[in-house]
Amino acid sequence: MDKEFIARGVERCGAGRFLLWILPWTAMLFFGLYAAGLCLVKGLNQTNMDNRFAFGLWIFLDLTVIAFGAGAFFTGFLLYILKVHELRAVINSAVVIGLVCYSGAVAVLMVDVGQPLRAWFTFWYPNVHSMLTEVTFCITCYLTVLAIEYLPIVLKNRKLREIPRFLVFEHELHKLIYVLAGVGTFLSFFHQGSLGGLYGVLRGRPFAFREGLFIWPSTFFLFILSAAAVGPSFILLTTWLVEKLSQKRLVRRNVFQILARVSGLLLAVYTLAKSIDTLVWINRTSPESGFPAAEYYSWKPFGTWILIAEIVVFGLIPALILLTPRLRARTAWLVPAAAMACAGVALNRFVMTVQTLALPTLSFDPFLSYFPSWQEIGTFLAVVAYGVLVYSFSFRYFKLFPEERELRIEARQAELESELVER
C-alpha cells in the first residue's frame, strides 16, 4: 500500500502489521495528551507536585531524555568534526533520537511551566540570574538545529526526492551540515552543563549544592561528561533494539565497538570525576553547610545503596566492560553494559531531582515523599509514545541506517560464497 514511499532495497513489514504496531502507541499518546490537556486547562493541581516538591517526574524525564539525546550532538561531533567516518552508519538515527528527546522535553516543560500562550515571555522577559534562562535559550536553539538536521533525512524519502526542489535543497543542506553539527555541539555543551549547574547552585539544598570553577559548580561539568558518555551508549542500545525488533542487520559490528569504546572512555572519566566530587562533597562542602553527608542517607529509601549503585554498579562496572575489548565484542556483555550506563545516568538525574527535594533542610522540615499523579504519568507516557511513533515512522519511510541495503546484499553474498565452498 505504501511501498512507493519506502526506500528501494530495504525490507519493511506490511502496512497492516505496521498499523498494528503503532496502534497501542497511538492510544498511549492520546491518553497522555488528555492528561497533559488536563494539566494545561486545570493547572498543576492535577499533579502531585507542590510548592516544596516543585520538581517531579517531568523534570526527571526532561533531564534524562536530554542526556540520552546527547548522542545526537556527540555523534555529529565525532563524525563531522573529528571525522570518525564509521559513525555515518548511525548519524541519521542519532538525529531522530535527538529530535525526539529534545522535542519531548520541550513539550513536557511547556506543560510543567503552563501558560503556553505566554511561552514567548521566557525569551522576552528572561530571568538573567537563572541558569534556566541559558537552558531555555540553548534547548530552543538546539531543537531548531535538530529540526534542520532532520530535514535532509525527510527530504531523502524516495517520493519526496522526486521533487527537484526538495532533492537539491537536501543536497545543498547536507553539504553544510558540519556547520550545524558544530553549532549543536556548542549549544549542547552549555545546556547540558547549565542543567547540572542548576542543581549545583542550590545553596538552600546542601544535598545538591557543589563548589566549582569560577561561576560553574562541579555539577555543570559532571552533567556534560555524563551526557556525552551516555549518548553513544543510548545510540548503541536503540540500534541494537531496532535490529532485534526488525530482525535486520542495520550497522556493521565495528560501529557498535566504536560507540562502546567512546562511551566507556567517557564513562570512566565521568565515574572518576563523580567519585572525586562526591568525596569533596562528603568531606568538605556538605559539612561546611552544617550537614554531615551521612545524614542524607539515613532517610529511607534513599540509603547509601543509591550512591553505590550510581557510581559503582551503573558507573564503574559498565565503564570497565565497555573499555575491555574482549567483553565488549560479545553482545551479551555489550548491550547490558550500555543499558547499565543509561540506567546510571537516569539514576543520577533521579537523585538530583527527587532525592534533593525529598530531604529536609530545616529542623522543622519533614522528609517528603512524592509519587506522581496519573496525569503526570500519562504525560510521561505521551512522550514515550511520541518518541516510539516518530522513530517508527522515520525507520519505515526514511533511510535511518544507510548501510542496511548494503549489509543485506553482503549477507547474501556471504551465503553464496559459503555455498560455493561447500560444493
Partner: protein, 277 residues
C-alpha cells in the same frame, strides 16, 4: 532578550551570553539562507538531475560502484570516483592508452545466451547507444535490461526537443505503481522516439562527437566481464530474504525474469539493476 529589557546590564557576563546566543542564531540563519540561495542557483542552472545521479551513486553499495577496470581485472580494487563518468578520469585514460579495448565491430556477441552486438556502446545502467550513419545516435535498452523490464505497462520517453544528459534520466519504465528510470548514456537533444519493436527508443542529436564523447561507455571486450558481474548482482537481488542464493549452473535469463520469481518485487530488482537506489 534585548538590551532594553528588564534585568539587562552592560556587563561582561550579559554581553558574552547575548553575543553567543545571537551568534548562534546568525550562524543557523546564514546556513539556511545560504542553502536556499545555492538551491535556487542549482535549479536555475538545471543541475537537479546531475545532483540526483550524484546522490544515487553515493547511495549505491560500494560493490556496485567499482571501476570498470576492476571488472576487466586490470585493477584489483578501485571505487569509481567520477560517478561512472570516465570522460575526465585520468586513470581510465592512462589504462586505455596502455591496453586499448579490443573491438570487432561486425561481431554479434552472444554473451551468457543474450545478444549483445558489439557495434555499440553500453552504459552500466543497461542503456546502449549506437552511432548512426547520419551522425545521430540511437539509444535503447540492452537485452538484459529488456529481460529485467519484462513487459512494462508503459515506457515514458522524453519528447523530441528535450535535452538528455549523461547519467541523467533517458526514459522511464512503468509497471504497476512502480517507476524506474534508465540512465542516459550520452548528452544530446532528442530528435525522435522509437519503440521496442523498432529496436531503439530514442534518436538523439549528440552534443559532442568523437572518441571522448563515448569514453565513459563500455564496449568490445569490456562487455563480457561486466555482464558476468551483472548476473552475479542479479542473482543476489533475486534471492528471497532468508533463503540461500541458488547457483545457476546453466541456462539463459528468461524474457521476464522477475515474473519467474513469486516473491520477487519488480521495482526492487529493476531499481537495483538500473542503478536506481
Amino acid at each position: 532578550m534585548l538590551p532594553w529589557n528588564y534585568g539587562f546590564e552592560w556587563n561582561t557576563a550579559h554581553v558574552t551570553f547575548l553575543g553567543a546566543f545571537y551568534a548562534v542564531l546568525a550562524i543557523v540563519a546564514t546556513t539556511v539562507v545560504r542553502t536556499l540561495l545555492r538551491t535556487r542557483r542549482d535549479l536555475r542552472t538545471h543541475r537537479a538531475e546531475s545532483i540526483r545521479w550524484q546522490s544515487d551513486f553515493h547511495d549505491l553499495p560500494p560493490a556496485d560502484r567499482v571501476c570498470r577496470h576492476v571488472l576487466t581485472g586490470e585493477i584489483q580494487r578501485r571505487e569509481c570516483p567520477n560517478a561512472f563518468d570516465c570522460r575526465a578520469c585520468e586513470t581510465h585514460a592512462r589504462l586505455i592508452a596502455q591496453h586499448p579495448v579490443a573491438v570487432e565491430p561486425q561481431a554479434e556477441d552472444e554473451t551468457l545466451g543474450m545478444p549483445f552486438p558489439l557495434d555499440r556502446y553500453y552504459h552500466r545502467g543497461h542503456a546502449w547507444v549506437h552511432p548512426e550513419p547520419d551522425g545521430s545516435l540511437t539509444i535503447g535498452l540492452d537485452e538484459l535490461g529488456w529481460r529485467l523490464a519484462g513487459a512494462p505497462d508503459a515506457i515514458g520517453l522524453p519528447k523530441p526537443g528535450a535535452a538528455i544528459h549523461v547519467n541523467g534520466p533517458a526514459f522511464h519504465l512503468h509497471r504497476g505503481r512502480a517507476d524506474v528510470r534508465v540512465l542516459s548514456p550520452v548528452d544530446g537533444e532528442v530528435i525522435g522516439t522509437g519503440s521496442r519493436e523498432q529496436g531503439w527508443l530514442l534518436r538523439v542529436k549528440p552534443a559532442a562527437t568523437g572518441e571522448r564523447a563515448f569514453r565513459h561507455l563500455l564496449r568490445g571486450a569490456e562487455i563480457r566481464p561486466w555482464l558476468v558481474r551483472e548476473m552475479e548482482r542479479l542473482q543476489l537481488v533475486l534471492t528471497p530474504a532468508g533463503a540461500a542464493p541458488t547457483l545457476a549452473d546453466g541456462g539463459v535469463p528468461m524474457p521476464d525474469i522477475t515474473a519467474g520469481y513469486a516473491d520477487t518485487d519488480w521495482d526492487d530488482v529493476c531499481g537495483e539493476m538500473f542503478l536506481c537506489p
